[in-house]
Symmetry: C2
Subunit: 191 residues, 2 copies
Amino acid sequence: MKNTSDKQPSPGGWVILGLLLDSPKSGYDLSAIAQRSVGQFWPLTKAHIYGELPKLERLSYVEGQEVPQQGVPDKKIYTATKEGREAFSDWLASPSIGEPLLRHPLLVQVFFGAHLPPGRLKELVDVYRQSVIKTHSQYSAILNHALKGSSSGSASDPVSMRRLAVRHALIRIEAELVWLNEVDLVAIATD
Amino acid sequence: MKNTSDKQPSPGGWVILGLLLDSPKSGYDLSAIAQRSVGQFWPLTKAHIYGELPKLERLSYVEGQEVPQQGVPDKKIYTATKEGREAFSDWLASPSIGEPLLRHPLLVQVFFGAHLPPGRLKELVDVYRQSVIKTHSQYSAILNHALKGSSSGSASDPVSMRRLAVRHALIRIEAELVWLNEVDLVAIATD
DNA sequence: CTCGTCATGTAAGACGTTACATGATTTC
DNA sequence: GAAATCATGTAACGTCTTACATGACGAG
């Protein structure tokens, strides 16, 4: 009565399981968290989350419990089981979970920029820069508020690790802005 | 006799079509190019390429021609058609081709680093750093050799655009190294 | 009275990957 | 003798996204 079919969680499923280790959460909670924190390096959609949770339950890596509510709709809170924790630890420590994957539409537009009408590239870059700047301010707000204060600063401290993830976002975005300036120089030059 | 079923190319299909605008190429050529240049921001696998080419042909965006060879196997060279060029230009100029997508396994490992045995994070980071450094040297070699010399420096010059794409890779990788050093500091601290 | 939040889910399909299958030639 | 290069493809599957469907409550 352990699991019915279903081998192992998909990559996204493992991430979801990881989020449940800290504290029990509903699908709704998860999809909110997935956007702010993990979403930056492992995007998860609502549909994906609601699809994975029952699978994790069938593997008995999580347990779901219905919580009746008044006013707002009932919700289902999922808790990681002991098996879930162990399986997750093994997965996390495995040497090759996979290589980073990047898909960057604007870079496609730059790469093939010669086939773009004059001035169009500049417009596309400007729009993109705005969204990048916005994201930057969001993540620096997280660093300054949610993750402020001093933590132990060791690898066994979850807060330090969360902070590193946000630092990654900030460093990456700043690099992106540097590059966008280089693009500007070329985009403006004698179009 | 234009197209039989098949709506529009998939994102990957458009990128493949873009690569054929410069010069005709075989599936084999494309998969080599896809690794070095476009692969950095839009990964393409062999199987994907060989799957998309017939679809592009059905849409009459490309034309394939069998080229007999001696010693080595025959190949099929695909050329972009006029329709293909026009469709590609329209697609490329469209405002929202999509948002950048990043999936970063090591960041998952860092994010959940508190669930990792002591010292393991440092190992994972070291392995990753090596691969990152290797990639960096590959891309700087491309900048210094294949894309050396002075081009017009304007947006209508394909070489300038290719160079910008490589610059993106380099800037991004250097940022990654900066971040990896921050991770080290935490990973080492009193584990 | 409209919009946002809370809350869960499904169905269909797009997209891409892994693994398999084949085989001659050249280089170490 | 082993391995890399050249060259093309398919079948099955995994993974994830889009769009749809529903509905009550509170804030402005």
